[in-house]
């Protein structure tokens, strides 16, 4: 039963690859996304209906939380995808920056990979065994690579190559880390289930500390590469800026969370073995470094999609800081994961709309979005404030919770750095936002550029496809709602999940 959310999209992927006609395939995509979401909803309501599959698969609150995010996000994105594919697929389009012609990955393969992506990410959330977890995460890399290479041209290919190689190296390191964990398990207590979370936690006291520590470090670095913690984040901006908007949304909103989940799994084992402070300290350092690097690359960033990508790095850093601090920080980090996924996905989708309207990724060449694409422009402003942690959006509460953890733990260095870096990012991003959203004059670059011909004058209002604005609207509305009111079941789930991370 618990296999259902994993197998359903996998099967659908195969079908989607076979189907010839576009329309049924698109219907299938949305339908599967909807069913998956419904399944997950049911799973939230009555977990008892989904008995664990041996020691390998089960859904605890931590997994349920991330599964919920992923499924919801995928549903919204699939709706957006319909509109996107109707515009893009099969067409041979000219590259806005260099002008050469390129065509896109066949829609069948693309859809199949999308569904496979969902399936593998679901597997990540339900697996209870470090081996299975590793397999699942490896699988996400495999299916997401073609997604990034949707536009078949040299930049996206380069991005894909970097993504594959870096993540594979990371994954290899993670595999070694998994072996180390296995090595930490005392002999004789063998059997294939000895690497399940539950067995490890209950026998945490007998684990060999040195190997456990080494394993933790390797897993942290390996999965951290996937999660995008600086300085392991290098693939992230390239992949996000070259991938199509909905893929960037899924990468930022769902994939990074999966890697984060894997790190939380090993952390909980360490905590059980009394290594909690050890792990949290490293995470804290990683978090601050990530925030700093992201801030440095956001300031003066000329490409708005890359800026969003670095903002993802920053927010992964915030998550790490929250976990590193513990206490209220755990709650804050988990809640922040939710908010960041919703907001960042919405922003990437909006970035897709802006790219479609202006045909450039340089923020300097985008002006007066409020006038030209009013809905997207307004949502763009709202999304920026949401991602920058302004109320009434959810990120405000989660970042506040993390800051509170820092203050009450009396670690003033963290307080200062955290606030300073958040302020720096704000100052860096707000200028870009204002320049892009406000103003009204057609920018010189657009007027002069060859593409200005087939686009209306930059001030003229432009039609916005319904699906293209509906999806981000829903996401922003959700995170806005979370800022105003956190529903009880979500609050409970987050609280239980924070409990799993263990006190210490």
């Amino acid at each position: 039963m618990i296999l259902l959310p994993v197998l359903l999209p996998a099967a659908a992927a195969v079908i989607a690859f076979i189907i010839r006609a576009h329309l049924p395939r698109r219907i299938l995509l949305v339908a599967v996304a909807g069913t998956h979401a419904a399944l997950v909803g049911w799973l939230w309501l009555e977990p008892s209906r989904f008995p664990p599959l041996g020691a390998w698969m089960a859904l605890d609150s931590l997994g349920a939380l991330f599964l919920g995010i992923t499924s919801l996000l995928f549903l919204v994105v699939s709706v957006y995808a319909v509109g996107f594919l109707r515009r893009e697929s099969g067409s041979t389009s000219a590259d806005p920056e260099e002008g050469f012609l390129f065509d896109n990955t066949p829609e069948a393969l693309f859809t199949a990979c999308l569904l496979g992506f969902l399936s593998t990410m679901t597997l990540v959330t339900v697996s209870r065994h470090f081996g299975l977890l590793w397999v699942a995460i490896e699988a996400t890399t495999l299916v997401s690579a073609p997604l990034i290479h949707y536009h078949r041209h040299h930049r996206s290919l380069e991005a894909t190559w970097k993504y594959i190689l870096l993540c594979s190296v990371g994954i290899a390191v993670a595999l070694l880390g998994t072996y180390f964990i296995a090595a930490a398990v005392p002999r004789g207590s063998g059997g294939i289930t000895s690497l399940t979370f539950d067995r490890l936690i209950e026998r945490a006291s007998q684990l060999d500390v040195r190997w456990l520590k080494a394993g933790f470090l390797l897993l942290l670095v390996g999965y951290g590469t996937k999660m995008g913690l600086a300085p392991l984040h290098a693939w992230l901006p390239d992949a996000h800026s070259e991938a199509p908007p909905l893929v960037s949304a899924l990468l930022s909103g769902a994939l990074l969370n999966c890697a984060f989940l894997a790190i939380l799994r090993i952390l909980s084992v360490c905590a059980a073995a009394g290594l909690g402070p050890f792990g949290r300290q490293i995470l804290l350092v990683f978090g601050l470094v990530s925030m700093a690097v992201a801030a440095g690359l956001i300031i003066g960033q000329g490409d708005y999609k890359r800026m969003l990508a670095y903002s993802s790095v920053e927010h992964m850093g915030i998550l790490a800081v929250g976990i590193g601090l513990g206490g209220t920080g755990d709650w804050g980090a988990l809640f922040h994961a939710v908010n960041h996924s919703l907001t960042k996905a919405a922003l990437f989708l909006l970035a897709g709309n802006i790219l479609a309207a202006y045909g450039t990724k340089k923020s300097a060449d985008v002006e007066g979005a409020l006038r030209r694409i009013p809905v997207t422009g307004a949502l763009w402003i709202a999304g920026f404030f949401a991602i920058l942690g302004a109320p009434p959006f959810g990120a405000f509460s989660s970042e506040l919770a993390i800051l509170r953890a820092a203050v009450s733990s009396g670690s003033w260095v963290v307080v200062v750095l955290y606030s300073l870096l958040l302020a720096a990012v704000f100052a860096g991003m707000i200028g870009v936002l204002v320049r892009m959203a406000q103003g009204g004059k057609p920018s010189a670059a657009r007027a002069a550029g060859g593409l200005a011909a087939d686009l209306p004058a930059a001030t003229a209002r432009r039609r916005e496809p319904v699906l293209a604005v509906a999806a981000p609207t829903v996401l922003l509305a959700l995170t806005g709602g979370l800022g105003i009111f956190v529903p009880g079941f979500l609050n409970r789930a987050i609280a239980q999940a924070a409990m799993l991370l263990g006190i210490s």
Binding site: L166, V407, Q438, G440
Partner: protein
Amino acid sequence: MLLLLLPLVAMLLVGLVTASLASAPRAARAVGAIGTCAASAGGLGVTIAALVLGDSSSLSLPWNAAIGASFAVAFDPLTGFFLLPIYGLSAVCAVFGAGYLSHAHHGRGVAAHWLFYSLLVSSMALVVLARNAVLFLVAWEIMSISSWQLVTFEHEREETRQAGITYLVATQIGTAFLLVMFLLLGAGGSAGAAGSLDFANLGASGPAASAAFLLALVGFGTKAGIVPLHIWLPEAHPAAPSHVSALMSGVMIKTGIYGIVRVLSFIGTPPLWWGWTLVSIGAVSGVMGVLFALSQHDIKRLLAYHSVENIGIICLGLGVGLLGMSFGSTTVAFLGFAGALLHVLNHALFKGLLFMGAGAASHAAGTREIDRLGGLLRRMPLTGAAFLVGAAAISGLPPLNGFISELLIFLGAYNAAAAGPAAQAAAAGIVVAALALIGGLAVACFTKAFGISFLGEPRTPAAAAAVEAGPSMTVPVIILAAACAAIGLLGSVAVFLLAPLAGAVARVGPADAAVIMAGTSPGLVKVTIGAGALAALVAGLAILRAVLLSRSSVRSAGTWDCGYTHPDARMQYTSSSFAQPLTGMFHFPLATHRRWTPISALFPVKAEFSSHTPDLFAQGLFRPAFAGIGALLSRLRWLQHGRLQLYVLYVAATLLVLLIWKLG
């Protein structure tokens, strides 16, 4: 309590309705202006009622326990006192805005404007009503963002966008300090580190209290605009539509003062240096503010700097109050706080009046440059007369309201100087000197602002062609002028009404308060008598003059120009030349740039002179600091050089470092 929240809800509904009317600009204009005005008026009524009935109701709904948030609101005299100007001024400004925006072209902009206007007003009200740190911060942020939207109403203009950025960044950094401060107070409070952040639980003592005080000073000071954190004011206020500038300068920056006063109530008796700090901040802000104002020739920029000056005066009052508290001399504390609070109200009145008057004038003459105006009084008699009242009031002259509040602060300072311990008296001496200097310079500045732009002959055809604005733009200023005069003439009544609140803030028992009032009110009554006498004398002398003139012939001629044959409007003294002696004297902080073409030939054909006074702190302090931090952080860009091998090397190196660090 629900009744008190009703205006907020109504306001938000109006905003949403207006926003939904985006496609019908005319309807949006009407609904927005009338709706917001009505809602604010209703709020004003409710607030007055609550104050009269001594309402102290409160309401607390569970919200988000995990971060200590709860929807806790309550009403007390302090809240009520700040609600008065918020609702009152926003009602008046809405009326003015209806007229001011009648020329705005794009309908969507107008609808959005009224949406954010209603958001701003309701969030300000929520700020003073909130009794939970998180709720307060949320309201605070919404206030900042909506006011940013209002400031950038005309965002086609580059400088407007820049002003918006400056404002947003400044206010956001200020908020960061507030976050830390509230969390600090929460950690030191009764509920402990993980408890709720209701105001009732906040507290701190010892160094934590001092840290919280300083954080509050920076955080709230940024909003209030104390030097050197004021840099956003002179940018944002000129950029905004006039009624928005009026609202922001009149009441929004006062929420910073509210915050300081409120936070002072969380933490115990202040040590001496807090009072000294506020006094020095007040003195510096006041003098710097008025000096920079003196050197401006954009009238709205000038007014913006005067907001800095008046915040300085308020800080002087608060400082006197703190000094009194730390020395246990209740009179001083009482008078200081009373003066500061009353000045909050007064400044809301006359600064709102001045901004709207200046807006009407520059609207009519098509420029904000004082040197291009002139002779507007006879063209716009009502606006001009109202502006004159405001100018006299902000200069702290009797019989207007500015004098009353400054009188109270002076009284507190003189009391301290005459009878307090030396440490207190010395600070009081600074207060006296600063207030007097500020007053004198303010007179110079506003005689300039009014005299150059409203008197004499028009300097440009545009100014000559100016005509009086419509009733929707004259009625508001007249109302405010009347309010200024009323508080000035009935100062004793105002202070009597204010006494309980001032006593509470100064932590003076009702008995002591009664004694203090018994000592203070006779003087205020005498002031009222003096004001009446002044009015009577003016009337009498005017009649006498009329009688005498009726008996002799009255002719009119040109102004006496010492025999010059061709007088010309451009020969009049300009604002820059009027202020030049003072700006020259204070050249050190002002650093006015002057550019002119020296007169060489015997019969020079043409010569030019222009002067510009940049903001010392923006230029000398913040710009370099931000540039430095930016440069430092963007050093990290080389990390992203695009070479895959080195990216892999990062991974390897990180792994190695961690292994050596943790296992080596």
